[in-house]
Symmetry: C2
Subunit: 132 residues, 2 copies
Amino acid sequence: MSGNTRDTKQKRAILSAFEEAHRPLTPVQVQAAVLRELPKVSLATVYRVIKTFVEQGSLVPVSFPGAADRYESKECAARHHHHFLCTSCDRAFDLPGCGLRVSSGLPDGFAISRHEVVLYGSCDSCKGATSI
Amino acid sequence: MSGNTRDTKQKRAILSAFEEAHRPLTPVQVQAAVLRELPKVSLATVYRVIKTFVEQGSLVPVSFPGAADRYESKECAARHHHHFLCTSCDRAFDLPGCGLRVSSGLPDGFAISRHEVVLYGSCDSCKGATSI
DNA sequence: TTGCTACTGATAATGCAATATCAATAACGC
DNA sequence: GCGTTATTGATATTGCATTATCAGTAGCAA
C-alpha cells in the first residue's frame, strides 16, 4: 500500500504553531505564525496539512458564528470547554470549564446532544483599545 | 429626496413568513415558505427584501457556527435569548431565557460584551428519527 | 387611466474559503 | 549518493452565499 507520509519542516512548523498557541487558529493565522521560520509556506500547504491532521485526529475543527473555521490541537479539545472571541484582534481563546446551566425552558420533545458557548469582548492585550 | 418605498406582495409575504415562523430563517427557507402563495419569488428578491428590513431594523441577523446566516423578526430578537439547532431538519428555534452562568475562570484583563449559546440536538418533529 | 419609477425575476457576477492542478523540490529507503 | 515519489509553492478552480445587472412588471400619485 502507499499510505506513506513524510516528515517535513512545514508539517512540524504547522503542528507546533497549534501546540504553542493553545487556542483555535484560522489557516491564515497559522500561515502568519509559521512565516517567521518558513517565509515561503503556501496557504495551500497550510490547508492541506490541517486537513491531514484533522483526519488523523491531531487537530479538531472549531467554528464560530459568521467567521472562518478554526482548528485547535486535540489536547485543547480533549476536555469540554468554550471560547472567547476578541472583537478587536479577532483572536479566539480557550476558556476553562463550562458555566452553562442546561436548561430550564427546553420545549417538550427536544433532545440536546451538545452545545456551544461563545463569549465576545476584548482580550487582555486589547483592553482599553477602541474596538471600532 | 427619493427615499420612497412601495408596498408589494413580495415584501408582505416575506415579512409575514418571519412573523409566523417565530424562529430564525435562512433566505432559502424564507423562499420555500413564501413559495406557497407566490410561486415565483426569486431568491434575489428574498435577499434584497431581507437586506432592506435589516437596515430598517424590522429583521435582525443571527449567525450559527458553520451555517448560512439567518434572520429573525425584531420582536423575537427584542429579549435576550438563545437558539436550538436541529441537526436533523436544520431548523433553528428560539429558546426562552438564558441559562448561562457567566463565568468563573475568565482570565484577568478579559472583558465580556456579549455571548452566544447554541444547543444542538433533535427537535420535536425529528425525535426518534435517525440523525445520520 | 396614465406615467413615472421602484420593484421583481432571471441570471450573471462577485467575494471568500477551500480544493485541485502541476511542475519543481525534498524525504527517505536503498 | 540515487532514485522514487510524497510534498510543496504558485496559481487556477470550485463551491457557496450574497450582490449586481437589466429588461420587464407593477405600485402609486396625479
